[in-house]
């Protein structure tokens, strides 16, 4: 990650959107930042954590998003500017608190909720558009259109939050959050932060210093007044702008990454004199006067935005409230299928929508080149399936779970969860996951299967979760299972890292986000305290792990926990040498002749094991092999040897 606290106003830096957002928070003088990691939002807090001591701010990886937001609210109540960050899936976890927070208002200092949406679900289970939540909950909503704005807007979000007295939401999408661009640095304020909670309660005061959502209807009305104020501030905001001809043939209305694609498309097609762009940065409430003045410029409007037709719906709704002669002629967008209502925007999807509406031609490559492309045999461009890294303990854990479930013979299965091990539904995990939803969802679903014996259900169920996920959302499901005597095994894939999102510490770690000493919370102690039986396994010791799982399966009642403990290979690889010396004895590998049916390269499928069709043997790719030695235990011929490193 880039160093975000460079004190060099006016200098240009190449930042990812998330680093720009973090820099903006520093320039705003925050004292608090908390989050649970989630792509594409993690680097906001990650880059703040790296400079926390230097900048004298508090940065925390919280146990989950709800706690992150709750704790940030407290900082605001005590007069410290606070930021809470999360991905859209995490917003769902925080929503219960958020709904009340809107009504209670904030303290004297600003509170900003930054949410990262993931159009195309690059690293997510679903494509949720969190802008809808801002509208449902009456929260002022901003969205940056480039990297500079990501910084500047975050800074302004705090001013807005304080002026209105409400939490403000800043939404970003993957193609801003995780893209890089130029950012001109501003000043870093030098503030002595001092926290104090004004502990005087006067219920008759219009703003009693007690943060409660009651009386709800009255506070609901207050929030609407705040939105009216936000709307009038938005009208003149520099984050909204129109560029293009006075009377365009087509008006693009856009926000976020859609703005960048819109500009690129207009210049690629050379339509600067025919197409205008209204870019909005303040999305909710809608700056109606500005929108109306732009609608009057043209008779045709195309909406370009990621995921849901948020502006499209709101502006069409607004337009229909105008008198007939002031309404715009035709609206194009997701409802007319000129832009997809699923997946992410691309430069081509925007170009194609404009080309189709204006009925013009766009041929980026020659017919001759297209012919050349068509001559490439399909099997030359193989599809790479996502898989666990070479040496990943999860591959060994999944091998052990699969083997134990087969040996048990009662058609058992795995309920999956969110993390690297989500790949358990594909070849990486030998297609073992049968359900997959949300953080902790595997354990929750297993609670249901675990009660169905009374209806004749007799298949064993293993729920998986990661170590970070265990703390985030699996504990209530575990308690539920123990209390109600559900029958399932919870397998905690403990790789000592929040690996999927970049190895952030979690409650079992001995260091905090800021690198200070933490009190590690023991997973096994928590499980035993709840009343579950616990087995600790080393997945690289396949034989003993499979044996332990079989014993747990045999028990067939109550909640049992198996903790698969091996450090994430990407973490271990940074600190230590390879655990074993692994080599292939070529003469022992008899390839197709062996009864194993190419077990290592066809089924186990570590990327470092490569089938050499010319030699009819397996070979080890020494560039990527991490010498975990698990394949040595899988090869029935003993052709792969692991030796302990002395």
């Amino acid at each position: 990650m880039a160093v975000i606290d460079l004190n060099a106003p006016g200098e240009n830096r190449l930042f990812i959107g998330n680093e720009a957002i973090a820099r903006g928070a520093l320039e705003a003088g925050i004292g608090w930042a908390s989050a649970y990691p989630g792509t594409p939002s993690s680097e906001v807090i990650g880059s703040l954590a790296e400079v926390a001591k230097e900048q004298k701010i508090y940065v925390e990886w919280s146990v989950n998003e709800k706690v992150a937001l709750e704790a940030a609210a407290a900082a605001s109540y005590a007069g410290i500017r606070a930021l809470a960050a999360m991905k859209m899936a995490g917003l769902n976890v925080a929503q219960d608190f958020l709904a009340s927070l809107v009504l209670t208002g904030i303290g004297k200092k600003g509170l900003v909720l930054m949410v990262g949406d993931d159009p195309e679900a690059h690293s997510s289970s679903e494509e949720m558009d969190s802008r809808g939540i801002a509208r449902v909950f009456d929260i002022p909503l901003l969205e940056p259109g480039d990297f500079q704005e990501a910084k500047d807007m975050m800074k302004w979000a705090f001013e807005l939050s304080e002026e209105l007295g409400t939490v403000v939401m800043l939404r970003s999408v993957t193609r801003i959050a995780h893209a890089r661009g130029n950012v001109r640095l501003g000043d870093l304020p030098q503030i002595e932060q001092r926290a104090i909670f004004e502990n005087v309660y006067n219920p008759m005061s219009p703003s009693p210093t007690a943060y409660m959502p009651v009386p709800s209807p009255l506070r609901h009305a207050f929030q609407h007044l705040k939105l009216d104020k936000a709307r009038s501030k938005y009208e003149g905001s520099p984050f909204n702008r129109y560029s293009g001809p006075e009377k365009p043939d087509l008006l693009l209305i856009t926000c976020g990454s859609g703005w960048l694609y819109s500009q690129d498309a207009v210049s690629t097609l050379g339509l600067e004199k025919r197409v205008g762009i209204l870019k909005l940065g303040t999305l909710w409430p809608l700056p109606e006067k500005l929108v109306q003045s732009c609608l009057q410029k043209t008779n045709r409007v195309l909406f370009i935005e990621e995921i849901d037709p948020f502006l499209e719906g709101a502006i069409m709704e607004f337009s229909s409230s105008l008198s007939p002669e002031r309404r715009t002629g035709i609206f194009y967008g997701k409802h007319t299928r000129h832009i997809n209502s699923f997946g992410e925007l691309t430069p081509d999807s925007v170009i194609n929508a404009i080309v189709s509406i204006l009925d013009i031609k766009y041929e980026p490559i020659t017919a001759e080149y297209i012919n050349k492309l068509e001559s490439i045999p399909k099997n030359f461009v193989i599809e790479r399936m996502l898989t666990f890294c070479p040496g990943c303990p999860h591959r060994a854990s999944y091998w052990a779970m699969k083997t134990a479930l087969r040996m048990d013979g009662r058609d058992g299965f795995i309920t999956g969860d969110i993390g690297c091990y989500s790949m358990g539904l594909g070849p990486a995990g030998f297609f073992q996951n049968r359900t997959q939803h949300s953080m902790g969802g595997g354990a929750g679903v297993a609670n249901g299967f675990g009660q169905l014996w009374r209806f004749g259900f007799n298949q064993p169920v293993m729920a998986v979760c990661g170590d970070s996920t265990f703390f985030h959302a699996a504990i209530p499901a575990l308690i539920n299972g123990v209390h109600n005597k559900a029958n399932f095994i919870l397998v905690v894939l403990d790789n000592s890292a929040t690996a999927m999102t970049g190895f952030q510490p979690h409650p079992a770690s001995d260091l905090t986000a800021m690198g200070e000493d933490a009190t590690p919370v023991s997973i096994e102690v928590v499980c035993e305290a709840i009343g579950a039986q616990v087995e600790i396994c080393d997945p690289f010791d396949l034989k003993s792990t499979i044996y332990k799982l079989l014993k747990l399966l045999e028990q067939n009642n109550g909640v049992r926990v198996a903790i698969m403990r091996r450090t994430c290979e990407l973490v271990r690889g940074r600190r230590e040498a390879h655990p074993f010396k692994v080599r292939l004895i070529a003469e022992k590998c008899i390839g197709e002749e062996c009864g194993c049916n190419r077990l290592c390269t066809r089924v186990f499928r570590c990327p470092a094991l490569v089938w050499d069709p010319a030699k009819g043997k397996t070979m080890i790719d020494e560039v990527i092999c991490t010498e975990c030695g698990v394949c040595a235990d899988i090869c029935p011929e003993g052709a792969i040897v692991k030796e302990t490193v002395i």
């Binding site: 661009g181 980026p364 070849p427 990327p607 490569v610």
Partner: protein
């Protein structure tokens, strides 16, 4: 600021998760921003890191901030860290004038169809056939000789530098190496130089 050969100049860096795609685009991007250019980089992140195909789109301009993705058929340069991944990018972003640098060392795939890695010489032939100009740079092999396959990335950057397609010189890259890899300046600088030696420019 030197004149760009085209504005915006569109570069795609392609490879397999774990190879160092992000680092390559970041080194190039930082050097260009230091020289005063606008740079936008769009990357594949997250789950795709785990053995999947990854690409970085780098858009360079002297005038303005462009969007994070390159439109189909609009790449000017493809820096391919892996043969099949280079071909994949040419298929989507190639055109009659695209220049390609390819590292011929394959990373084998976990492919669902199970057809296995295609014949390497055929793939490289297609890569050359789809490029206006194609430079084959044995980056992994050279990096292994230097003691660490990860140096292949800096070797490829050196090769790209030597082609003269970027408005950068050795000094600006060395400056970025000092900023980004303070613990391994010499190693990375020698990899950069090795990469430059591996490309012959015809006059």
């Amino acid at each position: 600021m030197k004149q760009l050969i085209k504005d915006p100049l569109n570069i795609i860096v392609s490879g397999v998760g774990g190879q160092g795609n992000v680092m390559v685009s970041l080194v190039i991007g930082n050097a260009l921003v230091n020289e005063g250019y606008f740079v936008t980089i769009g990357e594949t992140y997250g789950a795709s890191q785990r053995g999947g195909s990854v690409m970085s789109h780098v858009k360079i301009s002297a005038v303005k901030q462009y969007g994070p993705l390159i439109a189909k058929g609009q790449a000017d340069i493809i820096l391919g860290m892996e043969p099949v991944e280079t071909l994949r990018m040419l298929k989507q972003f190639g055109n009659d004038s695209v220049k390609t640098i390819v590292n011929p060392r394959p990373i084998h795939a976990i492919d669902l169809a199970g057809t296995g890695y295609p014949d390497l010489s055929n793939v490289l032939e297609k890569v050359a056939g789809l490029s206006f100009k194609c430079y084959t740079v044995n980056a992994t092999e050279e990096a292994q000789k230097m003691g660490n396959p990860i140096l292949a990335n800096m070797i490829l950057i050196g090769a790209l530098l030597k082609t003269g397609l970027l408005p950068l010189d050795e000094t600006s890259l060395e400056k970025v190496i000092r900023e980004m890899f303070p613990g391994a300046v010499e190693l990375n600088t020698s990899a950069l130089k090795r990469g430059m030696e591996l490309v012959q420019i015809e006059n």
